[in-house]
């Protein structure tokens, strides 16, 4: 499994309120949520993002509320992967559960700038910065998390297991 795209770079403590403000939580439609993704931190994000693009951030990405609407909005906006120095734990869990690939890598978070072209290999955890020609070793997912992501989320994973 791989991701490849242009980077949107953010700092520490990007909270779920700025990822998807609560004023839009009266909807749970992924496409509608995607139109407000990152609105309170980066108004231009939704206009600039292309399918496959990658979010890179510093510490504690996704802190705050447990709203699954946050990773849902990011995934529905077309983002293929989020790389951060660390993730808040509920966001981490939610991202895996809905099948949004995320990867912790402090070195990558420091060595990647806004606008860089980056490639991620989820099996090996290798992150390649094509713009700068640098490579970073991120934490590869444990097998069971990879299985959940490959199935497209926890529910599909449970369904597939039940069928077997």
């Amino acid at each position: 499994m791989q991701a490849k795209g242009r980077v949107f770079k953010y700092g520490d403590n990007v909270d779920t309120d700025v990822i998807i403000p609560a004023r839009y939580l009266n909807s749970s439609d992924p496409a509608e949520l995607a139109t407000h993704c990152m609105e309170d931190i980066d108004k231009e994000f939704v206009n600039k993002v292309n399918r496959g693009d990658i979010i890179v951030a510093d510490k504690n990405f996704g802190c705050g509320s447990s709203r699954e609407h946050a990773p849902i909005a990011i995934k529905a906006a077309g983002v293929s992967c989020v790389i951060a120095e660390t993730f808040a734990r509920i966001f981490y869990r939610n991202a895996i559960n809905i099948g949004l690939p995320i990867i912790e890598c402090p070195e990558a978070s420091r060595g990647i700038e806004d606008g860089d072209q980056v490639e991620v290999d989820f099996d090996s955890g290798v992150i390649y910065n094509r713009t700068r020609g640098t490579e970073f070793q991120g934490q590869a997912f444990p097998e069971f998390m990879q299985n959940i992501i490959q199935a497209g989320g926890l529910i599909n994973y449970i369904n597939a297991k039940t069928e077997k």
């Binding site: 609560a22 734990r89 509920i90 449970i158």
Partner: protein, 422 residues
């Protein structure tokens, strides 16, 4: 190697004699919680599963509290979806208008959460029930869906930080000041993925409402859960509110903690978290500049319980909210509301020029009932002061205790009760 209190509860619910930090386990759940924002997403996920029954109709709690009474058509549709689901599956603990309250104040009050439980909730402040000696943690909607169907959830066993609390807090220093002090000390990711275990002889000087407030904000330090040992006060609370049997777990003497802090409660001062992170704390005596406010909110799952309202009333009694300041007081549950009425607190609030609302999460997350305009400033007893949390991205939230919020409402600027001669 010994286990922490959290590890012991998780081990017991996973059918294991021993667990270690980092271990992946599957645990049996005593309660699965959702609200009107997170449950519709979970119900949608459940529809995708091939299972059409829930694991236990009495072990699921659905609380309509964020946008109700419904603020608009879309939120009404969400509540309708949950209401129909609750009806279809005969969910006994479904709480709608008239019975509802803010979930984390409501569930302990209804006796649905007791010591020794493992609880997941699709709301980040689910960690509140740690005040009762339960393991409880916030999850997302998909985990909630899987929990509703299977009665189980996977967890990575957390390591822990121990907070040894000693001494007795001064007048006007509450659980809110304790937890703001801790978050200021360790930061918003200071307990990331970890348990925050509170111990020490100072705990006896903290009321149950104080402990709920402290455990509630464990998530604001990134914690997986916050947990208190069970003492006489806890047992008295559970006996008063719950018919359920409970189980008391204690940390082993040789339990391993990643870090330990000792906090003398008698040395703490009323504390305020400045925009835009709960870790930006200052004690009242460290604030030199005048911070004029437009709004004061007293309520939420953090500080909408009866003691919080009593404190606010003690300050507002016979005084007036400063002209130009909107003071919004939100009892967390119907029962708190009723008690506040019987104790005459509502009269004090209304005579002071505050408004009293039906229970709702409303303004805390910028839903409704007190949204801020650009450039406006609010002092609030809620739990987050992120950019745009209560409204416009150019508004500001200062987090504080009910005592400081009430005193500030009277003064029209951030103020300690002492400034009113109290």
């Amino acid at each position: 190697m010994g286990m922490t209190m959290t590890q012991k509860i998780l081990a017991a619910h996973a059918g294991l004699d021993h667990v270690e930090a980092g271990q992946l386990i599957e645990a049996e759940l005593d309660l699965v919680l959702g609200n009107d924002i997170t449950s519709p997403v979970a119900i949608h996920e459940m529809d995708k599963m091939k299972a059409d029954t829930v694991f236990h109709k009495d072990k699921i709690a659905l609380v309509m509290d964020h946008f109700i009474p419904n603020k608009d058509i879309k939120s009404a549709e969400h509540c309708k979806c949950v209401r129909e689901f609750a009806c279809r599956h005969e969910i006994s603990n479904y709480f709608d208008v008239g019975e509802m309250g803010i979930e984390h104040a409501l569930l302990p009050e209804k006796g649905l959460t007791v010591a020794g439980d493992v609880i997941i909730g699709a709301d980040s402040h689910t960690c509140t029930y740690g005040a009762l000696g339960a393991f409880s943690t916030g999850v997302g909607s998909t985990d909630m869906a899987a929990g509703m169907v299977t009665g189980k959830a996977w967890f990575k066993v957390p390591s822990a930080i121990r907070f040894n609390l000693t001494g007795k807090p001064k007048k006007w220093v509450s659980g809110k000041d304790v937890i703001l002090h801790i978050i200021g000390m360790i930061g918003v990711d200071g307990a990331l993925y970890k348990s925050m275990e509170f111990t020490g002889d100072g705990i006896k000087n903290l009321s149950m409402d104080d402990r709920f407030t402290i455990a509630n904000m464990a998530i604001e330090a990134g914690g997986k859960n916050g947990i208190f040992p069970v003492d006489d006060q806890t047992e008295a609370y559970m006996k008063e509110h719950s018919m359920r049997s409970y189980k008391v777990y204690e940390a082993d003497e040789d339990a391993v903690y990643e870090a330990e802090y000792t906090i003398d409660l008698s040395k703490l001062e009323p504390t305020v978290a400045f925009p835009h992170l709960p870790e930006n704390t200052k004690t009242m005596n460290e604030i030199s500049q005048e911070i004029v406010i437009d709004q004061a909110v007293i309520g939420s799952c953090t500080n909408g319980r009866i003691e919080d309202l009593r404190t606010a009333a003690e300050i507002l009694k016979g005084r007036k909210v400063k002209k130009g300041v909107r003071c919004i007081i939100i009892p967390a549950t119907q029962s708190v509301y009723l008690q506040a009425m019987e104790e005459g607190l509502l009269k004090i609030f209304i005579e002071a020029g505050a408004v009293v609302s039906t229970p709702t999460c409303g303004p805390c997350l910028g839903g409704y009932m007190g949204i801020l305009a650009a450039g406006e400033r609010c002092i609030s007893t809620t739990n987050r002061n992120f950019v745009g949390r209560m409204g416009h991205v150019e508004s500001e939230i200062y987090l504080a205790s009910p005592a400081v919020a009430a005193a500030s409402a009277v003064m029209g600027k951030i103020a300690a009760p002492e400034e009113l001669g109290l």
